[in-house]
Symmetry: C2
C-alpha cells in the first residue's frame, strides 16, 4: 500500500503545499507553420540571431503564460509573428528530453498551423528573419525542431486524407489543379488527374463557380469553393466522412 507516496495529479485547495514540493518547469510552444502558394507546400522558419546556434533556422516559439492555455499561447505566438489570427492550429506532441534545449530545461509543445500564403500576404511577415521554404528544400533546424516538423508533416498527411483541412491552405476560390497540387505536395506523390477529380467530385462538397482563373492557361480553369455548410450538414446528418 504505497498510495500515500503516490503523487496525485489533481489537488484540493487545502493541500496547496502538497503541490509546492513538485518541480516546476518552463513550458514553451513551437509552431510548424505550413503555407501553400498554389504550387508548393511551404514552411515558415526564422533565423536565430542569438547564440548558440546563431544563424541557424528554427521554428517560431514562445513560452506559455499563466493566463492562457496552450492553444491560446500558440495562437498568440503565431499572431505575434504573422499578424494573423483565426488560423487553423492543432497540437501535435510534447517534447521533453532533458537536454533538448542546451540553454535551459524546457518542455515544448509543438503545434502546426495552416496558412494560405497568397491571400494573406500579411504585409510582409512581422519579423525580418522569417522566410518561407519549400517543404522539400527546408534547411536543418535547431534542437529537436526537425523531429517536430517530421511529425507535423505526418499529421498533416493524415488529416488531409480524412478531414477537409486542405482548404485552410487554399484561397477561398481555387482550381482543381491547385487542389491537386496541394494534395501532391502534402502526400509527396503524384496523383492521377482524372482519378483525383472523380474522387473530389464524389465527395460532393465543392461548388463550381462560373468564374475561371485565366492566369495559368489560355483555356482558363474553373474556380471552386469549399461548401462548408454542406459539409457540416453531411457530417451531422449522414455521418459523412471526408476521405480522399
Amino acid at each position: 500500500m504505497i498510495e500515500d507516496n503516490l503523487e496525485v495529479t489533481s489537488n484540493p485547495n487545502q493541500q496547496l503545499n502538497y503541490y509546492e514540493n513538485e518541480d516546476c518547469v518552463l513550458l514553451a510552444v513551437d509552431c510548424i507553420i505550413f503555407g501553400f502558394d498554389k504550387e508548393k507546400l511551404k514552411i515558415l522558419l526564422v533565423k536565430r540571431n542569438i547564440e548558440p546556434e546563431k544563424g541557424k533556422w528554427s521554428l517560431i516559439g514562445g513560452f506559455l503564460k499563466k493566463t492562457e492555455d496552450l492553444d491560446e499561447a500558440a495562437a498568440r505566438v503565431l499572431e505575434t509573428l504573422t499578424g494573423l489570427s483565426d488560423i487553423y492550429l492543432e497540437q501535435i506532441h510534447t517534447y521533453s528530453k532533458i537536454d533538448r534545449d542546451p540553454g535551459q530545461r524546457t518542455i515544448s509543445v509543438a503545434y502546426y498551423a495552416l496558412i494560405d500564403v497568397d491571400s494573406h500576404h500579411f504585409d510582409g511577415i512581422q519579423i525580418d528573419a522569417a522566410q518561407w521554404f519549400d517543404i522539400k528544400e527546408a534547411p536543418s533546424l535547431i534542437f529537436d525542431h526537425n523531429a517536430m516538423v517530421e511529425k507535423a508533416k505526418a499529421r498533416l498527411r493524415r488529416r488531409a486524407l480524412s478531414k477537409p483541412i486542405g482548404f485552410e491552405l487554399l484561397p477561398e476560390k481555387f482550381t482543381m489543379r491547385q487542389l491537386q497540387n496541394l494534395y501532391e505536395s502534402i502526400l509527396d506523390k503524384e496523383l492521377d488527374k482524372r482519378n483525383f477529380i472523380n474522387k473530389i467530385n464524389s465527395l460532393d462538397v465543392l461548388i463550381k463557380l462560373d468564374e475561371k482563373d485565366m492566369s495559368v492557361s489560355r483555356k482558363g480553369a474553373y474556380l471552386y469553393v469549399f461548401d462548408k455548410e454542406k459539409y457540416r450538414k453531411k457530417v451531422e446528418e449522414d455521418g459523412f466522412i471526408f476521405k480522399i
Copy 2:
C-alpha cells in the same frame, strides 16, 4: 520589426535571465491504462480518497521531475502503481485549460498504457483503491479525465488498425477468438469470424502452435503467437504495413 519582443523557445546559456522572466508551471502525467482479460477491454482507475472529488474515480498520475522526461515520468507513475515496467506507453495529448484542476494550475500530459491483465496479475495492484472497469461500464471521472480517456480510446482504435499493438494486450499465446474479442472490444463493433481470420492470416505474422487452449470449448482452440521477428523483417525489407 518586433523580433526583440518575441520570446524564443530556446536560449543560449549566457541568457539565462531571459528565461527567468517566464512563468513556470507544474507539469503532470496522467495514464490511461488499458487492459484485456481475454474477453473485454478494461481500464484501470483509482478512487480518490482526498477532497475535493473524494470518492470519485480518476486516472493515475504524477508530476514530472526535473531529472526525467515525460516518457520516463509516465513509466515511473505506472510502475509505482502496478509494479510493472516495460509496458507499452504512448503520449496522447497535453491538456492545459486554466481551471482544469480546481486545486492549482496544472498542465497534464496524457499517456495510454497497454497491459495484459491476466499474465501479470501483479500480486494485486499496489494501491488499494485501484480497480479494473469494463471499458463500457467505467464511471465518470474527475476533471478532464473523461476527455483523456475518449482520446485514448480513439488513438488505441487507430493504432490497433495500423500497428500490431494489440499483442501488447494479449498473453504471449492466444486463440483467434481472443484476438477477435480484443479487436471487437477496441473497435466496439462485431466482426465477422471468417473475414477476421482470413485477414489476420493474410498478414502472415502469427505462428500457429500445436498446442490448444481447452479451457473454453470442448473442441479446444489452437494457440498462436505473434512473430515479432518476422513482422520486423517484413516492415524493414518490404515496407510491410500491418493493416486490419
